[in-house]
């Protein structure tokens, strides 16, 4: 090796070193080290073990209670099962929603104005809502006003005024709401979807009823609905907040002990849903195509539930990070968002999803959906995706305890889905136990079915 060669090598060496120094100095920023931040965090994970207990009123009504003293507030949520719009008689469609509005027009010794003044002056809120299966009530109150809340609720459930004139106005409002639903393309899409999916089954119904049925509803229909559905045997109750066990029990007894024991509510006809139908479009003059799709899923208490839940989160359930959004939104800019979710209803369990996109994008968007769908069935998910979603589900666990109404809602949901009183203690264990193989088996099993698609605006 001669001197010149050595110099050359040295030169190269120094130039490289110099280059590296320049790189370090000017270009290589400190990379963001999330692990280090988490490890050195001032606040570490806390064990948060919310305790639920069951309380029983004098007359045997049960409720789940979570005591939570951080604010002087109590949330009470309850529903009557088999009292949703699917359980209405054929010619009485819309009666449950009509009742939910009529309950705000005075009850017992309170006329409408007094009722609302008591609510407003005491920061008490009482809301009524109707789903396909249940008639739901959610109430929240400062604990100092528990007695007033109990009295209002008891009056509402047992002695609503149901004045003829108010009924007439409420019916007109309900018909107006029905028309407003037709103004929104997503609502029209979802209505037609239900008709395709459930065919003649009452679950396909519009919750508000139809113009003809609403017009004919009478005071007697409302009273009949109460007599038939507001019964103890269908009642499910949850209480959360700053309240002692004794007070909660007394509260429960006062409101509900006077209810009728039971009535026989007929079961709905056996469900036999259509998971498979040809793609169809509803004509409408809008700039986008809105799409909804369905494929078979699994019920809440099956062994497939958590594996499929994880697979779905990775596929389309986890927002911006889902595979579908990474391709269709983040990479291609085809849509503001695409989503999928699991519906766990009995005999109708499904993977559901939807998106909106400009007409000219629709073909590409649909292709991405079907390709990604197929990929889930063929290849499943990666270990990295699997671990990330598990971490997500474990670390987001506590977010469900944000407000007392969230907590009461959670307690009600646990009862509705029969998750058990120890669900909150066990939930993270359920997640940890799921294996990658189980997720991929579920992906293969469920994503092998092609989704059935319905659109609006694809003219």
């Amino acid at each position: 090796m001669n001197k010149r060669n050595i110099l050359l090598i040295l030169n190269i060496f120094f130039i490289t070193l110099f280059g590296y120094a320049i790189f370090v100095l000017f270009f290589r920023q400190d990379m963001f080290d999330a692990q280090k931040i988490l490890k050195n965090s001032m606040l570490q994970e806390k064990t948060f073990q919310p305790q639920i207990e069951e309380i029983i009123s004098q007359k045997g009504i049960k409720a789940w209670l979570m005591q939570e003293q951080s604010a002087p507030i109590v949330a009470l949520n309850f529903y009557f099962d088999k009292a949703g719009y699917a359980f209405e008689k054929e010619d009485k469609q819309g009666v449950a929603v009509l009742l939910s509005n009529m309950l705000e027009h005075g009850a017992g010794k309170f006329n409408e104005e007094e009722y609302h003044n008591i609510l407003d002056l005491n920061a008490i809120a009482i809301d009524f809502s109707v789903t396909d299966n249940v008639f739901k009530v959610s109430a929240i109150t400062p604990n100092a006003n528990l007695n007033k809340t109990a009295e209002l609720l008891k009056s509402v459930l047992t002695a609503p005024h149901l004045n003829q004139k108010d009924i007439q106005t409420s019916k007109l409002q309900q018909i107006e709401l029905l028309k407003m639903k037709e103004e929104k393309p997503e609502r029209v899409l979802s209505k037609i979807f239900r008709e395709k999916f459930y065919s003649n089954h009452p679950n396909a119904r519009e919750s508000l009823g139809n113009v003809e049925s609403i017009s004919k509803l009478s005071r007697k229909d409302l009273k009949d609905f109460i007599a038939e559905h507001f019964t103890k045997d269908q009642l499910v109750v949850a209480i959360a907040g700053d309240i002692s066990k004794e007070d909660a029990t007394a509260f429960l007894s006062y409101i509900f002990d006077g209810l009728i024991e039971k009535r026989n509510v007929e079961n709905l006809p056996e469900l036999n849903v259509n998971y498979v139908f040809d793609e169809e479009n509803i004509e409408r003059d809008i700039p986008q195509v809105i799409s909804t799709f369905v494929a078979p899923g699994t019920e809440r208490l099956t062994k497939d539930f958590y594996p499929l839940y994880i697979a779905n989160e990775i596929f389309g359930g986890s927002g911006l990070n889902s595979r579908l959004n990474k391709v269709a939104r983040e990479r291609e800019g085809l849509t503001y968002g695409v989503y999928t979710y699991l519906k766990t209803s009995k005999k109708a369990a499904s993977i559901r999803g939807g998106f909106s996109t400009s007409k000219e994008n629709y073909a590409q968007m649909k292709m991405i959906l079907l390709e990604e769908w197929q990929k889930m069935a063929n290849e499943g998910v990666t270990e990295q995706e699997f671990e990330a979603i598990k971490d997500h589900m474990l670390t987001s666990f506590n977010l469900r305890f944000r407000s007392l109404s969230d907590i009461a809602k959670q307690l009600l949901y646990m009862q509705q889905e029969h998750l058990g009183m120890d669900f909150l203690q066990k939930r993270n264990e359920y997640i940890k136990k799921v294996t990658l193989d189980e997720v991929n088996e579920a992906a293969k099993k469920y994503f092998s079915n092609k989704p059935s698609i319905l659109t609006i605006g694809n003219n």
Binding site: L43, A123, S356, S358, F397, S403
Partner: protein
């Protein structure tokens, strides 16, 4: 109960609460670089809401650049010099953080609900993108397409949303509020990466932001963390915000009538431009109380006079007063008699005047009490609390000297309300808008 609906009412509760010494624990301070920090403790569950308010929104966009504030909000999720393009979202997901952002006329807000063990991660990521955003050409073009799709989905698909936008355009004509937040379809497509970077450089600086941390954390700890992650961020240049001008002569009456396909119901909307809480506190609070009495509380005056007597199907009022620009007093009506719209409009106006005539000091005191009663819920949900504190602090209202404001509210008298409403009726710019179905056959 829709708690966010009460958000602005909460503000006044908040003020009352000082007088009643029931104020939730919170602290407010400013870092050397001008970043305002507000902390509120809530120890229900080991979680926290982190919100970062930038005092910039659609109102700060130049003419022809509508949608820029919103587009930049999207780009803030597309990577920095330290965090690669999609790892921001990946990190948020993996750590179970429920995160998002929104843009309004006044603000651009980034928010995250998180387990307390991840607060520092959220703060580190927010601090990083306040300073080190990079906008990649490809990402820019993709996000431009995404906001275009978003606008179609939210506004263009929906006749009522298009109608509301048209109404706002007339109400706010020649003011900074004229821009639709999502931008017009034409202008979204002409925005450039340079526009976005210039906007970022001008407005995304510590002294133009408010950080709120609300949840299971001690104020002292939050203070240390805010200092640790945001304390070293320098302001990009001497920050000089362009003062947006609202002309003084906002007056005149405008009526628009519109028929649209796919509309099935008749709707009447009426809006007045009124002083905001920053313009004229006394008037703003008087209007807040009047609206609550007129058309917000459970059994409001309008309900009593128009629904119970079967003259309308739905009627309500509401106010936007906690804003950077001018405030707005809004009314909406679904008429029952669908024949003569001018009669319906007159009925609404007359009933409002009548409500003012029938307002007594006793009723006003009752209305104050109703507003006050909801105070207790401020302690429940850390997200509501964060949102509320963020708006107050971003408006520049001094939350450590609330007592002054309490006095203002408690002092609202009947004649204050009368003056405020009469002034509004006499001098405010007003737009009345009627939306009706379009008959597909007869109109061809």
């Amino acid at each position: 109960m829709n708690k966010l609906k009460y958000l602005f009412v909460f503000y006044s509760l908040f003020l009352f609460s000082v007088a009643h010494a029931k104020i939730p624990d919170f602290e407010s301070f400013e870092l050397d670089n001008g970043l305002k920090v507000v902390v509120s403790e809530n120890h229900k569950a080991p979680i926290a809401k982190v919100m970062l308010f930038y005092k910039v929104g659609a109102m700060d966009e130049e003419v022809g650049k509508s949608g820029l504030a919103h587009l930049l909000e999207h780009l803030m999720f597309r990577g920095t010099t330290h965090v690669s393009a999609s790892s921001f979202n990946d990190l948020m997901l993996q750590n179970g953080i429920d995160f998002n952002a929104f843009t309004s006329k006044d603000w651009t807000v980034y928010h995250a609900l998180t387990d307390v063990s991840r607060i520092e991660l959220v703060l580190a990521l927010e601090a990083d993108r306040m300073e080190h955003l990079i906008i990649d050409d490809e990402a820019f073009q993709t996000e431009q397409k995404i906001v275009y799709q978003e606008r179609q989905q939210r506004i263009e698909n929906n006749p009522k949303a298009r109608f509301t936008e048209e109404m706002n355009k007339i109400l706010w004509q020649d003011t900074p509020y004229e821009h639709p937040i999502s931008g017009t379809l034409e202008e979204i497509n002409t925005l450039t990466k340079k526009d976005a970077l210039a906007f970022y450089e001008a407005y995304y600086t510590p002294n133009n932001a408010v950080l709120v941390i609300s949840g299971d954390i001690k104020a002292s700890q939050a203070k240390m963390l805010a200092e640790k992650y945001f304390g070293k961020i320098k302001n990009k240049k001497p920050f000089q915000k362009i003062q947006k001008i609202f002309s003084k002569q906002d007056s005149g009456e405008y009526v628009i009538k519109k028929q649209m396909y796919d509309v099935k119901t008749i709707q009447i909307k009426m809006s007045y431009i009124v002083p905001s809480v920053l313009d004229d506190e006394k008037t703003a609070y008087a209007l807040l109380l009047f609206s609550s009495y007129l058309g917000e509380s459970g059994h409001s005056y309008l309900t009593k006079k128009l629904i119970k007597t079967q003259k309308a199907l739905s009627v309500r009022s509401n106010v936007d007063l906690f804003v950077r620009g001018k405030g707005e007093f809004k009314l909406s009506l679904l008429p029952l008699a669908q024949t003569d719209m001018s009669k319906n409009i007159k009925m609404l106006e007359d009933t409002m005047v009548e409500a003012l005539c029938n307002l007594t000091p006793e009723i006003l005191e009752l209305e104050k009490k109703k507003v006050l009663s909801w105070l207790v819920y401020v302690k429940d949900d850390p997200s509501d609390m964060a949102h509320l504190l963020g708006i107050i602090a971003s408006l520049g209202l001094d939350i450590t000297r609330l007592e002054d404001y309490v006095v203002h509210i408690l002092n609202v008298t009947l004649s204050d309300v009368q003056n405020a409403v009469q002034n509004m009726l006499k001098t405010s710019k007003k737009v009345t808008a009627v939306l009706m179905p379009k008959n597909e056959v007869s109109d061809e």
